[in-house]
Amino acid sequence: MIVAERKPFDEIKNMVSGYKKVLTVGCGTCVAVCLAGGSKEVETLNAELNLAFGKDKIEFGAETVERQCDMEFLEELDSKVDEYDALVSMACGAGIQFLAERFPNKPVFPAVNTSFIGVNLDVGWYEEKCRACGTCVLGLTGGICPVTMCAKSLFNGPCGGTNQKSCEIDKEQPCAWYKIHERLAGQGRLDQIIEISPPNDWSNQKPRKIIQPGYEERVKALGR
């Protein structure tokens, strides 16, 4: 899932000050799971904003849709948005942009910092796992991502700074390449990393689109 964390309150406060009626829009999917931007967090943020501004200065509304990264769900807001003069989105960066695209005449402000693609380690505890590099090498590296888990994104690690089992940047951070070696050794698959990994194709350096096979015609018809 996408993991985000709420922006510092003062930053959000500064963005909305000067508007009269503001709608805070939550998202019920990833950011709800990671406790950053679901309906509960919308409520909390609005309560804080009300306290800071006073009800008569700015009026804050609340809506949470299933997914802000899906026009189908954003449609639900069509009838509600008109009366507001600004929107605050608590979705990930993708959701915020889609909301802004749906309502191009409204200023849209982000209330969260979208942080990473990660996993749920425990309630409130998440870890980054993928940088969406576009050329996945997990098959070679024992299911451990060298782009994300190695602080230098090395494809032929470890570097000279590898420190016992830790990364040079922090004793608490495991060295990804130590772990890759350990896992592949356990599986008897060290031959996978004896070969040199060639320079990566960083296809995440330009805006990307994917159309799944069979959907090309449909996309053409939509004209988008």
Partner: protein
Amino acid sequence: MKSGSNLEKILKAGHFAFTGEVGPPRGANVEALREKVSYLKGNVDMANITDNQTAMVRMSSWAASMICMQEGVEPNFQMVCRDRNRLAMQADILGAYAHGIRNMLCLSGDHQQFGDHPQSKGVFDLDSMQLIGMVKKMRDEGKFLGGADIDVPPQIFIGAAANPFAEPFEWRVHRLAKKVAAGADFIQTQCVFNMGRIRDWVSQANDMGLTDKIAILPGITPMKSVGMAKYMKNKVPGMDVPDEIIKRLQGVDKKKVADEGIKIACEQIEEFKEMKGVAGVHLMAIEWEHKVPEIAERAGVLPRPEV
């Protein structure tokens, strides 16, 4: 000859190589740089010119390499993967070669968080292994990484680093083999303090036939003080400083500690001269360049052969 560099000739002639290191200034202080280099002149076969070492901004390594050359010392142009993408790397390699630079050392680079710009974006477009392969491709195939022909390819003697001490130890020699396969001509290792480990590592490299293909230069760093030894043991990632070294330094009179450090370094060099599979040593006398003439003298590596 791959490059015709002095180091390459020294190694080819079968001499025991002796290389040094200079860190460029934190500014445009050319005089300070010339002075550092002057201590190495005639005492080393080549001097490594570090590239934004420990992620601190310094005069660029190719520019400092050129000044080093003007002072009569052959430079080893260090390049880290942290600060440049593949375009900038290839451009700098061509520029460095055009100005007469013939050796390069391909490194990952310390993580940017250690330096004075921890907010910077680490590039790491290539890793050190891929950088080695790219320089080899430029030299031997006359092609850019992207595949296009190079109009006058750079003839570079390709260096790489190795850390024989990191865990898992049994993997270390395979990583060396990867660097050989990628195209490295010589290796300069992490500072050696644990002689037992490096003996094992070199003998593994001998057994795998790697030392026939690559020149190994273990790194030597004389300890200036007990504090430095402790700092390197505890604070510098990837460093293996056995307790005996610290005890030995503690065991001498305070005024004699630096001298003892040099003595240890010289003993190591003596052992390396005899060690099968070792082609020379690389002296990293960090901020101690003025001691290089004395260390070279005491290590019995002078005069440096003319080749």
